[in-house]
């Protein structure tokens, strides 16, 4: 089974990891309770989506 010949340098490791990025969630303000929530998703605070009760909070 083939294996790497050389140890990956600290520089190469860090260069590779420089591309690991987190993306910010797309938050919108809930019209009902004014809390932040994910877009196109039921509000976890008041449990509604499009004025319709979805979750029991």
């Amino acid at each position: 089974m083939p294996v790497p010949k050389r140890k990956t340098s600290r520089s190469n490791t860090r260069s590779r990891r420089s591309q690991w990025k987190a993306s910010a969630p797309n938050l919108v303000t809930c019209a009902r309770c004014k809390e932040k929530r994910l877009a196109h998703t039921a509000c976890p605070t008041c449990g509604t989506y499009a004025k319709r009760r979805v979750l029991d909070v």
């Binding site: 929530r37 994910l38 196109h40 998703t41 039921a42 976890p44 989506y49 319709r52 979805v54 979750l55």
Partner: protein, 193 residues
């Protein structure tokens, strides 16, 4: 007919996916709404709606077709006696998927899939009555210029029934009756002359 799914099946293989979707459909018809992952909800929707269409058809053949998916006879019974007749006036779109955000533990996007409420009878009647009224008005406007030519002689004898006709129009519009359309079409030109 739903589009065949592309990409890998849910679970380990085609049989596993069939079993999971059958169980999800059974749970959906039993409870009315279930919480599951978005991917499963999206795969379940076409299957569940096809089963409800079978339930609306309601004959023995349709029942046997549904029984090949939903093995629980009591669930099939409720599907055919309650859920199917509820949606008699609704042409498709019997389920609603609402996203509820990622799950704790594996961050899987979750969703609630539920059977939508049956259409209110009054709303349907009002909508169809409104379309009938709009069609009638559209037909009455072109007929108006041609009307004064021929009923000059008829207008004299028709003047007495006109009063009754206008009253009848008001009551019929309130009731939104089907047979009022025929009567109104005959009376509309006379009113304008």
């Amino acid at each position: 007919m739903p589009t065949p799914t592309k990409g890998p099946r849910l679970g380990g293989g085609p049989a596993h996916e069939r079993l999971m979707l059958a169980n999800l459909a059974t749970a959906l018809f039993e409870h009315g709404r279930i919480t599951t992952t978005e991917a499963k909800a999206k795969r379940l929707r076409p299957l569940a709606e096809r089963l409800i269409t079978f339930a609306k058809r309601g004959d023995l053949h349709a029942r046997r077709r549904v029984l090949t998916v939903v093995r629980d006879k009591s669930v099939v019974h409720t599907l055919f006696t309650e859920i199917g007749p509820n949606y008699a006036t609704r042409a498709g779109g019997y389920t609603r998927i609402t996203k509820i955000g990622p799950r704790k533990g594996d961050n899987a996007p979750m969703a609630v899939i539920e059977l939508v409420e049956p259409l209110a009878e009054q709303v349907v009647a009002e909508a169809s009555a409104a379309t009938r009224r709009a069609a009638k008005e559209a037909a009455a406007v072109p007929a108006a210029p041609a009307a004064p030519v021929e009923p000059t002689a008829a207008a004299v004898e028709a003047s007495a029934p006109e009063a009754d006709a206008t009253e009848a129009n008001a009551t019929e519009a309130n009731a939104a009756e089907v047979d009022s359309t025929g009567a109104d079409d005959a009376e509309a030109p006379k009113d304008e002359s």
